[in-house]
């Protein structure tokens, strides 16, 4: 009993210290800000579900749609996550399901279920920067990039869309599809409001915006996200609906059974 009480005190003290720290540490620690942004943007709630509508528009204005249900569960191991995506439309991907085990510092495991062949297939996942289902978003844009993979620098603090923001510059330590990234991170909710990606010639080629921030189950959520490929004029708008957090999902459910025969409650 005394041992337990002692542990609790230590834990409480540690918590108090970390809680007290941010106001100073944040400014000094840009990686900490990015980490908080990741927490707010990719990790909220122990689980999450949304109906996702992706509209892909090319320079000439012609549109393609992708409709899917996305579920996510956080793993006990810090940073690990499992994602499940079930496609409703268009016809050629309908009933397809996609499962990703994400590990921040190593390649993710990915499986695809192809209903017409009743086939569960493992997918090579070397390139996290490849396009997610043909959109302007990469896999990394959808599920997050390892914070440690970049060198982060706090450039300045400024308002964006009427909200005070940190402006962070992130430079990849290894090879990447971009040379540097600028992010405008909302100081209050820690959501990214804007991101700019610069190529090797230091020209802007990809631009992200997070819009329509709404509180769902107590969690500020960007209900609309846009990624624009500046040079081609192609853009993808992602709209979330039926968002829910804290679904009480079990990590073990994110497996082959879900791919072949997803639980009815997941897709409702």
């Amino acid at each position: 009993m005394t041992k337990l009480a002692f542990k609790t005190i230590v834990a409480a003290a540690a918590l108090a210290l970390t809680a007290a720290a941010p106001s100073n540490a944040q400014k000094a620690d840009p990686a900490g800000i990015v980490r908080k942004m990741h927490q707010a943007f990719f990790y909220q709630g122990e689980s999450f579900r949304a109906r996702v509508k992706m509209t892909l528009t090319d320079a000439s204005g012609s549109e393609r749609l992708r409709e899917l249900t996305m579920l996510r569960v956080n793993m006990p191991k810090r940073g690990d996550q499992r994602y499940f995506m079930y496609f409703h439309a268009p016809g050629d991907v309908r009933r397809m399901a996609f499962l990703v085990y994400k590990y921040p510092a190593k390649e993710s495991d990915r499986w695809l279920f192809i209903p017409a062949l009743s086939l569960v297939q493992r997918i090579a996942a070397k390139d996290a920067q490849s396009s997610f289902v043909g959109s302007d978003f990469s896999y990394e844009d959808v599920s997050g990039r390892d914070v440690e993979a970049d060198e982060h620098k706090l450039l300045r603090e400024e308002e964006h869309g009427g909200k005070p923001c940190y402006v962070i510059e992130s430079v990849p330590k290894g090879s990447a599809s971009y040379k540097r990234e600028l992010s405008w991170i909302d100081k209050a909710a820690f959501l990214p409001l804007k991101e700019e990606y610069y190529d090797v010639q230091d020209q802007l080629f990809k631009e992200f915006t997070g819009e329509e921030i709404k509180e769902v189950d107590g969690v500020p959520t960007a209900m609309k996200r846009t990624m624009k490929s500046v040079k081609t004029g192609h853009r993808t708008v992602v709209e979330f609906s039926e968002v829910k957090y804290h679904l009480g999902l079990k990590a073990e459910e994110f497996g082959e059974r879900a791919l072949r025969n997803p639980p009815g409650s997941w897709l409702k």
């Binding site: 892909l56 012609s62 393609r64 062949l117 493992r122 043909g134 497996g255 059974r257």
Partner: protein, 417 residues
């Protein structure tokens, strides 16, 4: 044809709104043509230059009970085959499913697929339609549904699939009606197909036990049933007048493992085929027991490009007895048949274009098979595909070499709704 329309009406009648969220129907209309490359006039094939000429309507109907756990799915194709000048219905799948706790049950006509090979199957002994593959029909037609009962048991540690197939269905292989193929008994026209009867005792059983091990997907397989490829049994070896197509008894046991390694996906699979009807391997018709194995590696070296390489081998046991029982003048198989495959896929223009090449090459049979293909997703609904099947080999008696004169170019368009 009247039957087809009744089915079509049954499919369409309920409509979407009547059952609210519980019922969905979808499908596609497809036109699909494949023509031989090079003339066949001298070979006088009944089907002319076309291997395939068809228009097809697929209707899919699915639904589930509001409380969940119970559902159904049906998918039927209504098609007109221009080569045979006939129209028909093909019920691709029709099953009911029930799930409760750790158990899922699925009963009816359904497609089963397992194993880790890419277009190579060792422990997946479910029916396949190679005619569809060789004549350029969409890949999904390689697999056919089969009336069966599938029971799946899930736990966090270990999962099990058990499939019982009471209705034997053979693989569909190219025949002389549309393909120019090697036939050692060309002059014998009296042929009887002797499929295993639909008896309870002939029920095929297939099982898969699987679990993740250190980030790899590991599985064990077992099968008890029949070879799905027919073997020709002549009434006499010297002067045959009648051929019986037989499907000898087969048991198979195997294992596979698949997972991330060296920046890609590594796949390993092996299986032992126990030819139960000819344990002594003394019969020249019934195949000898074999061990089959494959190793595959797939990776994505740059954005939207994947490359996959596989090595596959078939090792025949008791080869000496096979050699001894083989009638004179018959083409001889190798003790170890080897095959290499390479798949290259490049996606372009926000994945609206897919260029791919699949190639088989056997260093032992000295034959090959190439499938170059370009698919364009014109809109979300409309897809156009053009591709070719190119076969060749040093001899006309090997599996792929015999198809040498069947090179074809195919064109398909599909509208999905």
């Amino acid at each position: 044809m009247g039957r087809a329309w009744v089915l079509a009406i049954l499919f369409l009648a309920p409509g979407r709104p009547a059952f609210g969220g519980g019922l969905e129907w979808h499908g596609f209309v497809q036109a699909d043509y494949a023509s031989r490359l090079g003339t066949t006039r001298r070979d006088k094939l009944g089907s002319g230059d076309f291997l395939l000429g068809e228009e097809r309507l697929q209707l899919q109907l699915s639904g589930s009970a509001p409380k969940g756990g119970v559902g159904y799915f049906a998918k039927a194709d209504f098609f007109r085959d221009e080569v045979d000048s006939r129209a028909d219905v093909d019920v691709r799948e029709a099953y009911l499913s029930y799930g409760k706790g750790p158990v899922d049950i699925r009963a009816g006509r359904q497609i089963h697929t397992w194993g880790v090979g890419d277009l190579l199957f060792i422990n997946d002994l479910f029916p396949k339609n190679y005619v569809a593959l060789f004549s350029g029909r969409p890949m999904e037609y390689l697999k056919t549904g089969v009336g069966s009962l599938k029971t799946s048991l899930y736990s966090d540690q270990l999962s099990l699939d058990l499939v019982a197939i009471p209705f034997f269905e053979p693989d569909r292989l190219p025949t002389s009606s549309r393909f120019l193929v090697f036939d050692p008994f060309q002059q014998v026209t009296n042929r009887v197909d002797s499929r295993p009867r639909h008896d309870l005792g002939n029920t095929e059983l297939a099982a898969r036990l699987y679990r993740p091990i250190l980030g790899f997907d590991a599985a064990l397989y077992a099968y008890r049933g029949f070879f799905r490829t027919p073997y020709m049994e002549p009434d006499s070896m010297t002067a045959p007048t009648k051929l019986t197509m037989v499907y000898p008894r087969l048991s198979a046991y195997g294992a596979s493992i698949q997972g991330n390694a060296a920046g890609g996906v590594l796949s390993l699979e092996a299986g032992f085929y126990d030819s139960r009807q000819d344990r002594a391997d003394a019969d020249s018709v019934i195949p000898n027991s074999q061990t089959r194995f494959l190793a595959g590696y797939q990776r994505s070296p740059w954005t939207d490009f994947t490359a996959g390489l596989q090595y596959y081998g078939e090792y025949m046991h008791r080869y000496d007895r096979y050699e001894a029982s083989l009638p004179a003048g018959f083409p001889k198989q190798d003790r170890l048949r080897q095959l290499l495959t390479l798949r290259l896929t490049q996606l372009l223009k926000y994945q609206a274009w897919r260029l791919s090449l699949f190639s088989f090459w056997s260093p032992t049979d000295q034959d090959f098979y190439l499938i170059p293909e370009a698919a364009w997703r014109v809109t979300d609904e409309l897809t156009a595909t053009v591709g070719a099947n190119v076969f060749g080999g040093a001899r006309s008696t090997t599996f792929l070499g015999q198809l040498d004169k069947n090179d074809n170019l195919y064109l398909a368009m599909r509208y999905e709704f």
